[in-house]
């Protein structure tokens, strides 16, 4: 006798552990085959295989953005070094001499602006290298991704601030030998990764939406 309960568990796993948009059609196909005489073991084998394939596909989707975000974040000390030109230094010193609230805003400007522009630059470079993502990217969607990056940066800056990690402080040392720099790079990588994933999900949603309309 076929175990209906066992099939229900496998179907639940299939529909909740495969993240693609096809899970409904896929589980429907398996159920149809099962109703036509396939065994419970066959059903479980197919469900577990589909979950495995789905997880592999998903990890591949996230692997490249994660790799790029991690690699890009290691360039931050170089970005800060480029920013330390005499002109920006003189603006910084002039601004620092001003009274409150201008001097307080300088803290934000000095910490967040270089980090945010660095992340945004990384995001644009990634976007240009991935044509399928850049294709159909509207201004609003772009703004959404950039805003996600900024929000993640702000939240992590506040969260890491309690541990004494300050994104403003970028010493000129060997990157990997300095735990402070490594902590900052994780923060920057997380911010850039969020923006890329946000854009990728939007592009995917748009792609599926266009297909549904075409159908």
């Amino acid at each position: 006798m076929k175990s209906i309960q066992s099939i229900a568990v496998a179907t639940w796993m299939l529909e909740h552990l495969t993240f693609g948009s096809d899970h409904e059609a896929l589980s429907g196909d398996l159920l149809e085959e099962f109703q036509r005489g396939r065994s419970t073991a066959w059903y479980w084998r197919q469900a577990l295989s589909a979950i495995g394939v789905g997880l592999l596909r998903k990890s591949a989707t996230y692997a490249l953005p994660l790799l790029f975000a991690t690699a890009w974040s290691t360039l931050y000390p170089a970005w800060r070094a480029i920013g330390r030109v005499p002109l920006t230094q003189s603006i910084y010193e002039r601004w620092a001499s001003l009274d409150w609230p201008f001097s307080t805003s300088l803290t934000i400007v000095n910490g967040i602006v270089p980090a945010a522009t660095f992340i945004w630059l990384g995001f644009f470079i990634y976007l240009m290298s991935r044509r399928e993502m850049a294709h159909g990217m509207t201004g609003l969607r772009l703004l959404g991704s950039l805003s996600i990056a900024l929000n993640v940066l702000l939240v992590t800056t506040i969260a890491l601030g309690y541990s004494g990690i300050d994104v403003r402080y970028v010493p000129r040392e060997n990157f990997f030998a300095n735990p402070h720099l490594v902590a900052i790079s994780i923060q920057l990588a997380l911010s850039l990764f969020s923006a890329i994933i946000c854009a990728a999900l939007q592009a995917r949603r748009q792609h599926h939406g266009a297909d549904s309309l075409a159908g």
């Binding site: 096809d22 896929l26 085959e33």
Partner: protein, 111 residues
């Protein structure tokens, strides 16, 4: 100018099976036909993974069809090959045909 996109072995099989099935190309008949042609069972998840890749490349398009009680009320997802997919299949066939011509028979000396 962008060059033609070629298909992998399994993607090509899936694409040709969709063409072969015509209007009835959804998961169940696709997997069955592929299993018959290949002579071994196929994972429906792998078929959907290939279909997803083909759809992302614009080689196939899909639309939701009817749902039946035997499917637990879940809709079928039908696939059809796009013009771009057809062009890619022809381009892949041309390249493979040229390459197959250089295949020596078993036991034959390679030039």
């Amino acid at each position: 100018m962008k060059g033609p996109s070629y298909l992998g072995e399994f993607e090509l099989m899936v694409l040709l099976t969709i063409i072969h099935l015509g209007e009835d190309a959804y998961g169940v008949p696709l997997s069955r036909e592929l299993a018959i042609r290949r002579g071994r069972d196929v994972s429906v998840g792998s078929v959907y993974a290939a279909l997803d890749r083909l759809e992302a490349k614009g080689f196939v398009a899909s639309y939701l069809g009817e749902s039946t009680p035997e499917r637990g009320g879940r809709a079928k997802r039908y696939f059809r090959v796009t013009q771009q997919g057809l062009r890619s299949a022809h381009a892949t066939r041309n390249v493979l045909s040229k390459l197959w011509k250089t295949l020596p028979s078993p036991g034959e000396e390679r030039a």
